[in-house]
Symmetry: C2
Subunit: 90 residues, 2 copies
């Protein structure tokens, strides 16, 4: 899966990312990965649900992976952060 | 899947729910469902990750389902809320 098919979810309103996913599909991608870390995970699920319920009816969630990433915070402290990857296809 | 094997994630610290999941497994369950709605979805992912990384090494995430639930809010207003179910087995 190429990096350009991945939409990273941040702290903006969900509709910004919905638009990014819809644009990916409409420009010819058959697969889009919605990826998020930490508190943005809830928003990633919102984005996937809004895309398939409201915009691209034949889009499906093919697979969902969760994992833990170790980030280095301030003062070199290690912090574990959960992440999610939602694989959408149409 | 019986209701008693489901752990509903709310707004308490993640470790409370980690303990609930670990207790389910240790009392003989082979499968536990971690379920959450809205902003608690991120915490549900944290709970599943902490359980398998720190407490029950042979626990696996077998499947993850996301969906949209329509709730009736104040004044009868309909609100769509995303939800997640994480199916864990050992």
């Amino acid at each position: 899966m190429a990096e350009e098919n991945t939409v990273f979810i941040g702290k903006k309103p969900a509709m910004n990312y919905v638009l990014a996913v819809v644009t990916q599909f409409n420009s010819g991608s058959n697969e889009v990965i919605v990826k998020a870390r930490g508190r943005s995970i809830s928003r990633a699920v919102d984005v996937a649900e809004i895309v398939r319920n409201r915009f691209i009816q034949d889009a499906k969630v093919k697979d969902i992976q969760i994992s833990t990433e170790e980030l280095t915070g301030e003062e070199g402290r290690k912090v574990n952060v959960s992440s999610i990857e939602i694989f959408m296809t149409k």
